[in-house]
């Protein structure tokens, strides 16, 4: 089983080494980045990999350090470092361990005697020390407990548990970079409130840059469970592959996930469906290769950027807005702003879930932050409208402003039906424009990044 979280930290040690055949010692410094695939807890043994830099006066300054760390301060009373590096054209191995003693906790946890080996023969020995006075705070501050890499496929499996009054969606949006055509593939399971037989349906829509939007529906057909994704009457949306036909459309596309899952709503709300609905991206970004045939032509996709998303809940919101913006360079912005149908909640302004995945890190760190702020204070605000809707908000030292434009000619209006039979109208554009401005406070608000998406944003606004 994969652990939920890993551990990362950096460590610096300085000391000296006496090489075999030399009378004096040489100064030595080791800067290490350590990564473990599981949460590091002191009472158990954690195996980690390490990379970093070694400096030995007059011999080595290598950044090619690779090795292993065995962290077991209580169970085995040992923290063992084994690492390899190249110096002076020779391959060296360092093997040493801190031998933890309850009688001398500080000394035993900070002193690392080691032996240097080359070709299995002893090449020297020395001692490195962790300089507590200068290195302790950076060491403690460097600790991170990142989530372990998750498999996108696990989030594609159906969530529906047979309860009436549920809806579940697999939808994929992408933009063909050559033709700038947007594509929307929507697969939906609806289990009506009245307990009648669930059915699946969906559609495909193409958004050429110059319009007009074309689409075709498939279904409804009785729902047949599929353990890995959506599958119905020749239409499939599962791990790595989308294919099917609707009207004159036929598509067969492979999907390559690129990036960690992105939980637009809080992670717990996906695990335990307590909110009216929740949305996630099994992979924040994906690339698509394949063919989509449409009346009058064929679209050949070659690593087209986009993303698949999943929704599970009780039905559509009262009003909502959604944006998926591929900002380039692996950065992604995902926004869902919605007003619930539930009595009481329907009087609130839109709850805004904004997730900016930038340089591998997600801002704001908690999904709840943009939706509810601090008991409502500081929440992000969305003005839902058409053709322009906006989102703005501040969290920590950053603030963001997003302006989405869905030109009428590039927007497709479709009717949605809730499990309770209620109707909603969705206005969707996979070739919308967006402007994103990210600022950081440094004495004053300074622009940190700005993106303009010209017809490559994927957006939708819905109401009743």
């Amino acid at each position: 089983m994969t652990a939920a979280r890993g551990t990362e930290f950096t460590e610096t040690m300085v000391g000296s080494v006496r090489l075999a055949g030399e009378s004096g010692t040489r100064a030595m410094r080791l800067d290490l980045s350590v990564r473990a695939e599981r949460l590091m807890l002191p009472h158990r043994t954690t195996d980690a990999t390490l990379t970093g830099r070694v400096r030995i006066a007059g011999l080595a300054d290598g950044r090619d350090v690779r090795g292993e760390l065995e962290i077991s301060p209580i169970a085995r009373r040992r923290i063992r470092y084994r690492l390899d590096f190249t110096a002076d054209g020779r391959r060296y191995s360092l093997d040493g361990w801190k031998s933890v003693s309850a009688l001398r906790p500080v000394k035993s946890m900070t002193v690392l005697p080691f032996t240097l080996l080359t070709d299995g023969e002893e090449a020297g020995h020395g001692t490195l020390r962790f300089p507590v006075a200068t290195a302790l705070m950076p060491f403690l501050g460097s600790f991170r407990f990142p989530r372990a890499q998750e498999d996108a496929a696990q989030h594609l499996a159906p969530r529906w548990n047979g309860s009436p009054g549920r809806t579940e969606v697999w939808y994929t949006t992408l933009t063909d970079p050559k033709t700038r055509t947007g594509v929307w593939l929507h697969h939906e399971l609806t289990a009506p409130d009245d307990g009648s037989r669930p059915h699946g349906h969906g559609w495909i829509a193409l958004f050429p840059p110059d319009g007009p939007v074309e689409h075709a529906r498939f279904g409804p057909e009785p729902w047949e469970p599929d353990p890995v994704g959506f599958s119905m009457d020749g239409v499939e949306s599962g791990p790595g592959r989308l294919r099917g036909s609707a009207g004159d459309f036929r598509w067969d596309v492979t999907e390559r996930p690129q990036g960690e899952p992105l939980f637009t709503f809080p992670r717990w709300s996906w695990r335990r469906p307590l909110l009216p609905a929740a949305q996630i991206l099994p992979s924040a970004r994906a690339s698509y290769t394949g063919t989509i045939a449409y009346p009058g032509g064929e679209l050949h996709l070659d690593a087209a950027p986009g993303a698949s998303a999943r929704i599970y809940g009780h039905g559509n919101a009262r009003r909502w807005a959604w944006l998926h913006a591929d900002l380039g360079g692996g950065d992604v912005l995902e926004i869902v702003a919605a007003v619930s149908m539930r009595p009481g909640l329907n009087k609130l302004p839109p709850l805004t879930f904004l997730r900016l995945r930038r340089n591998g890190r997600t801002w704001p760190r908690r999904a709840e932050r943009s939706a509810v702020g601090w008991a409502g204070l500081g929440r992000f605000r969305t003005r839902i409208g058409l053709p322009v809707w906006t989102v703005s908000g501040t969290a920590g030292l950053r603030r963001i402003r997003v302006e989405v434009t869905q030109p009428r000619e590039r927007t497709l209006a479709l009717d949605y039906t809730d499990p309770d039979g209620g109707a909603a109208v969705c206005r969707n554009s996979e070739s919308a424009d967006a402007r994103v401005l990210l600022e950081r406070w440094w004495g004053r608000w300074r622009t940190e990044a700005e993106w303009f998406l010209d017809g490559t944003a994927h957006a939708e606004v819905g109401d009743r």
């Binding site: 158990r44 169970a75 085995r76 361990w97 005697p113 080691f114």
Partner: protein
């Protein structure tokens, strides 16, 4: 303090100033005491102080200032109290040790060796001070004695990287040839040779501490394990490796390595020949012993290291092979604890050894296999301080072969210390658990304690050249225990059956000496020191118990016994310690019960069997 020792020595040896050597004894005694454990040192100093105080009260002056005659009166009045005799005997032993050496040095100065010094085969020995703080190996062997050496050789020959840890240091044959016996004594023995098992009577249990372990200081006698002992191990203890054929092959291999052969008569010495003559007169089964000393020159210094390199102690025979196969020996390295990984899947696993240098600094060696061969007295404490001592039988089952000795006075000069130290075995009573061996140490170093104090003792000392000495050891019940974790504390309660056997052994030895022509027999029993005939001896012995004997023992075994019964044996029949993976027991402590003969071959064959089994089966 030294003034008290001066007085004590002068009184015990009746020093009247006419001979020079008694004057040098206090200094040598002081140096010897320094090597002994603090309790023994305090005991001797305390006894000296008490006798000094008694003299001051009785005579108005301290012993040192009394005349020889006055000192004699003080000692006579003390010796007249039976309760004090054992105390005087205990003090006498170290004094005799120092006196014997000084007397020999003055009367027979060490001759410069005529032959060029013997060159020992090379060993890869590294002092612990030069060993790195962190290292790894495939196997670490704790102890370089009989068991450890053969285990190291076996494992190294399979290609494993083996490190042998030895608390003592390396002594070469050239060192032995250069120095006086007593000068080597303190260094070669743990606790300066003053290891004592508590009990009634206490048992002196000297064990070696050097590269080569006790094999450096044993007599070199090599008995094969008796068939009935192997049968008992197999049938009662479920030890399959004691299969007669397989074990015989291991014994053959060990004998080849040690070059074991029957001792030729030429250098046997008069002590041994006297014993043979006595046995012949009585028609007893006897003969020169099988020994691992080809070319023995009869230096009679086996117990302080053979000065000619004839005795094939393991540092001359086994360890060179081990080093040739890649094993390395770290000397002056005290195994502090065996390191274990308690959280390994499948249960706790040994992962190396934490070691202390003489300067108090530590180093560690990681290895998946740890071979415990620290000897039966020190393996249990090592396992306890490593957190591996939970088995209820660990440290129990200690058998020691308690031994006592008897001397016979002959008209002619015997000079027992010229010839082979342990020369002749008399097996007439072996079926009754009594093995008699003609044994004579260098002056003062034999286990026989001369009777009397003062003038009487001095006379005995000066006539020691007319004494022939025999020793007898008995097959004992395992009635001892090794206690303690930081250091070992020994307890040995002589079983009543074994007490009777010991008295029987004294009688048999007396009979043999009389048959060989002895004028009188010195029993070593303070309350009944002399007998002029066999009948008188029997009469004397009928009035004493074994508690009156001076007991010593040289063969501790059985404290981490191997056996099939998990409740009774801390180690399994293949020598693997129970409760942890990767710990092998390969020394005298592994023997399931008393081997009934000098155990070197038995220990080595057992270590060979368990280490071959471990090498074949991996460290698990």
């Amino acid at each position: 303090m030294s003034t008290r020792l001066d007085g004590l020595v002068a009184a015990l040896l009746a020093d009247d100033g006419r001979a020079a050597w008694p004057g040098a004894v206090p200094d040598r005694l002081g140096r010897m005491l320094d090597a002994m454990p603090s309790a023994a040192r305090a005991g001797v100093h305390g006894a000296a102080a008490a006798i000094d105080a008694y003299a001051a009260v009785r005579m108005g002056r301290r012993l040192r200032r009394l005349t020889p005659g006055e000192r004699e009166r003080v000692l006579a009045s003390l010796a007249a109290r039976p309760a004090l005799v054992p105390v005087l005997d205990a003090v006498k032993v170290p004094v005799m040790l120092a006196a014997g050496t000084e007397r020999m040095l003055h009367e027979e100065p060490v001759r410069a060796p005529s032959a060029p010094p013997f060159e020992d085969p090379p060993l890869d020995c590294v002092p612990s001070a030069e060993w790195p703080d962190r290292s790894t190996a495939d196997a670490v062997v704790i102890g370089s004695g009989a068991g450890g050496a053969i285990a190291a050789r076996t494992l190294a020959r399979t290609g494993m990287r083996v490190v042998v840890l030895e608390e003592g240091r390396r002594h070469t044959t050239a060192d032995f040839a250069r120095r006086a016996p007593l000068g080597r004594f303190a260094e070669l023995y743990r606790d300066g040779g003053a290891t004592v098992a508590l009990g009634n009577p206490p048992v002196v249990l000297p064990v070696g501490r050097a590269v080569g372990g006790t094999t450096v200081v044993n007599s070199g006698t090599c008995y094969r394990t008796p068939g009935h002992v192997l049968a008992r191990w197999r049938e009662t203890f479920g030890v399959d490796l004691a299969d007669a054929t397989a074990f015989a092959a291991h014994l053959d291999e060990v004998e080849r390595t040690l070059r074991v052969a029957t001792q030729p008569l030429d250098v046997l010495g008069r002590n041994g020949r006297t014993a043979l003559a006595g046995a012949e007169t009585l028609g007893w089964k006897a003969g020169p012993l099988r020994r691992n000393a080809p070319g023995c020159k009869g230096s009679c210094q086996c117990v302080v290291g053979c000065p000619t390199g004839a005795k094939q102690s393991v540092q001359l025979s086994v360890l060179p092979d081990a080093c040739a196969a890649g094993a390395r020996i770290v000397t002056r390295a005290y195994a502090r604890r065996i390191l274990t990984d308690p959280d390994r899947s499948g249960g706790p696993r040994a992962c190396g050894v934490g070691v202390r240098r003489p300067d108090g600094t530590d180093f560690e060696i990681l290895a998946p296999l740890v071979v415990v061969a620290a000897g039966a007295l020190h393996s249990p404490p090592l396992l306890r301080r490593s957190g591996l001592g939970r088995h209820p039988r660990l440290g129990r089952n200690l058998a020691v072969h308690p031994a006592t000795s008897v001397a016979g006075r002959f008209t002619e000069r015997i000079t027992a210390w010229q010839g082979v130290l342990q020369s002749v075995g008399i097996e007439q009573h072996h079926d009754d658990g009594i093995l008699i061996e003609a044994t004579a140490g260098p002056p003062g170093m034999g286990s026989f304690v001369l009777p009397g104090v003062g003038r009487a003792l001095r006379t005995e000392l000066e006539q020691a050249g007319h004494l022939a000495t025999l020793g007898a050891m008995i097959a004992d019940r395992p009635s001892g225990r090794v206690l303690g974790a930081r250091r070992s504390v020994l307890r040995y309660d002589l079983d009543p059956r074994d007490g009777r056997r010991l008295l029987g052994a004294v009688e048999a030895m007396g009979e043999l000496l009389f048959a060989a022509g002895a004028e009188e027999v010195l029993t070593g029993i303070a309350a009944a020191p002399r007998a002029g005939s066999v009948d008188e001896l029997r009469q004397l012995l009928s009035g004493v118990t074994a508690r009156r004997l001076h007991l010593s023992a040289f063969h501790p075994t059985g404290t981490v016994a191997i056996g099939a019964d998990a409740q009774m044996a801390p180690a399994d029949p293949r020598g693997r310690l129970r409760g942890v993976h990767g710990v092998l027991v390969a020394d005298g402590s592994a023997l399931p019960s008393c081997p009934e003969v000098n155990p070197q071959l038995t220990i080595m064959a057992t270590a060979l069997a368990v280490s071959e089994s471990a090498a074949a089966g991996g460290p698990g």
